[in-house]
Symmetry: C2
């Protein structure tokens, strides 16, 4: 198994509310090639700190991916840091300059002195073409390690990885292994319950490492296994993984059997993808009536390309008046039970379905907090309603967490009710 | 300036789509105390890798914050790693065990053998109380460094930082400095244009470091200055920062003067906060008519507690039928101009305003992609409409990026049109 490390460069990633997201997809892309990312480091735009991070990483790993710090400003120091650490001085690369000039010419601009800095690369570095931005990347072999420097802009880094990093990795990789990985996603069970139920299912002797990860969207279980003796081969790597698939799939199935209807997806599938595919396959249309989620369910469903096929409309009825106007919920019902109640959730789902001429109406009403809670109706109390051609359903949830968490969990709960109906699973707890 | 590092522990942070978010708020909390976080490291649940990360960090920094790996499972190895690196063996801490037992008793459960592992801490460690979870944290002085180990669960880590880490930092800090920081957020200008316009405004001699950060929500400009000679003092630290405030505020004002109406907020304020405050202050109510954003604007506005005061309702009208039914957009208008057009955006905003009896109607219609684009109406073409008591406005945007990016930018563009009207700023470009 080849060891890799990722270094994300940028002071804004240390302080400023920005998270390093490049390393997430880069680690995944590496894993697909059987290369395990063992460390991720974030470092600011400081030449000494960057050199320190590079030195440590290049001693530990065979592959170091650096993202960021390739821009034209004096803050962009990745070129300098690599030159300093490797002892390979910077010099102007005409090919790099030409590609910058071409890009600027197309945009009707002239390359400034600052911009020229981007064309100075360490001696002996391989130029990595940037087909969607100006900053050229580069790669440099140093001692037992190869350093790849990619831009900080996500889509540029992703494209450069595919176009230029991958071919070099394939060419060079002669030792390594494969990392097989499967994930199963659940909603509706606590980490403790899952831990108990699946205890002993995956024996130590299987060589599989089991991980349990809790998030606001549910609990995910991952199965990972390393094959240390395999060689990396991008073309045949997949076949090699498949040979071992039987047994990893076997354990996945065992987990699925035990957790049953609580499993909503596999290997990174999101709830909105699953629900969207099921609606498409069944030719059903959907309309939403959201209260406490404020539009989040609509937002999540419309993140999926093609969602306009099944999502006809949604209403966000934050006020009681909106619930009456847009959904025909009666004033009496609201007065008798309150806006956050099972009967109102049901009336909302029925109202949106009837008024939209769709197959399915999905509603959610609840108390997201921090205010608005009471002893009998605490913050986190949420009702989901589902109106279908034949029958209506409701489900009560009691979520914990702050306002954003309750909204997120409520949206997942509502989509899970829909999923359960679509797959003819029990909507209420076992 | 005291140097700090943060180590986030968890294999799911290396691979599995999870981002390390704890280090974002921990770095901010440290900065408030004048402690600069210089490195963030993510490492998997592997004892050797964790020891390597701890060894490197404790040599470089005076303060090391570790999050994660304190749970009850065999995967949770932070205690072992600290013991190994510092040479302080683990032993049972009765006080830690008692607090776990008390928590379990309240939940009607018994402490299992695994759970007892959480009460074993390195010799000489200070126990850090966990008031919102079971895993106790701890802190250990080692050579010139102090290591703090906090849980991976965000709200537990945050609470423990405030309750237990802060007092220890205050007690120990005898050297250090302060980091002043101000940020200004813009929407509607490119990074290049901003770079040109603000060139030379903040002279090098000011000792202020200027950073420009592009994100889908706009360009942020940060001003940072270090005061190396200051001592950390939590009680008086704020006063010391204030002494230097004048000049940092001066440069912020200069930037504001130049960038004018494109500046929507300062120091981490979000567009939805700004708009929400302005609506509240003016006693105005709002209704939304979203097409391509699919509910994202409603979702963003309702992330803010108290948004029910000004947000009455929203409709997500993905289909033409929904635009006709819910907003009264005429069939002719849709046929003549298409759903993604200036007249339809205006009709949507007017429709939602009139039908909801609110003060303001805000609409957005556009092509989020990847499909649906044409030569005359490419992916990324978005129209925003705003209907007010006196006049209606529209604005055309041409965004780039994928579906999720176009949705995000569209939501920001729509909220920015609203902000401009609320603050009586020109809605169209200068």
């Amino acid at each position: 198994m080849i060891k890799a490390e990722i270094i994300a460069v940028g002071s804004e990633l240390l302080l400023g509310g920005r998270t390093d997201t490049n390393s997430v997809f880069l680690a995944e892309l590496l894993a697909k090639q059987g290369i395990e990312c063992r460390f991720k480091t974030v470092v600011g735009d400081d030449i000494d700190d960057m050199c320190a991070a590079l030195t440590v990483a290049s001693k530990r790993a065979k592959i170091v991916l650096v993202t960021g710090g390739l821009g034209p400003t004096v803050d962009d120091l990745t070129r300098e840091a690599v030159a300093k650490v490797t002892g390979q001085p910077l010099h102007l690369r005409p090919q790099a300059l030409r590609s910058i000039q071409t890009r600027f010419k197309l945009a009707g601009r002239i390359v400034s002195k600052n911009q020229r800095r981007q064309a100075f690369l360490p001696l002996g570095a391989d130029l990595l073409r940037n087909s969607s931005g100006t900053a050229p990347g580069f790669s440099l072999k140093w001692k037992r390690c190869r350093i790849f420097c990619l831009p900080g802009v996500s889509h540029e880094a992703r494209k450069m990885f595919h176009e230029s990093v991958l071919p070099l990795l394939v060419k060079e990789a002669s030792v390594g292994g494969c990392l097989e990985s499967r994930t199963l996603h659940t909603f509706g069970l606590t980490e403790g319950v899952i831990d108990e139920r699946i205890h002993g299912i995956v024996p130590d002797a299987s060589g599989i490492r089991l991980g349990i990860l809790a998030s606001p969207l549910g609990i995910s279980i991952s199965l990972n296994r390393e094959h240390r003796d395999n060689h990396i081969n991008v073309n045949t790597g997949k076949d090699k993984i498949l040979k071992h698939d039987l047994s990893l799939e076997y354990y996945l199935e065992q987990l699925f059997k035990i957790l049953g209807s609580y499993v909503y997806g596999f290997n990174g599938e999101s709830m909105e993808e699953i629900v969207g595919k099921a609606l498409t396959a069944r030719g059903l249309t959907l309309a939403l009536a959201e209260s406490c989620t404020g539009g989040l369910i609509g937002h999540r469903l419309t993140q999926i390309a093609g969602s306009s096929v099944y999502l006809d409309r949604g209403v966000v009825c934050y006020s009681n008046q909106a619930k009456m106007d847009l959904l025909g919920v009666s004033k009496n019902l609201l007065a008798k039970h309150g806006a956050v109640s099972e009967p109102v959730a049901k009336a909302m789902a029925q109202g949106i379905r009837q008024r939209s001429s769709v197959d399915l109406g999905l509603s959610v009403t609840g108390i997201a907090g921090p205010g608005g809670g009471s002893l009998s109706k605490p913050v986190g109390l949420v009702y989901v309603g589902l109106s279908t051609p034949r029958k209506s359903f409701t489900k009560e949830f009691r979520f914990h967490g702050d306002r954003k968490m309750v909204k997120l969990r409520s949206s997942q709960g509502a989509l899970d009710v829909l999923r359960r109906w679509l797959f003819s699973l029990p909507i209420s707890d076992d």
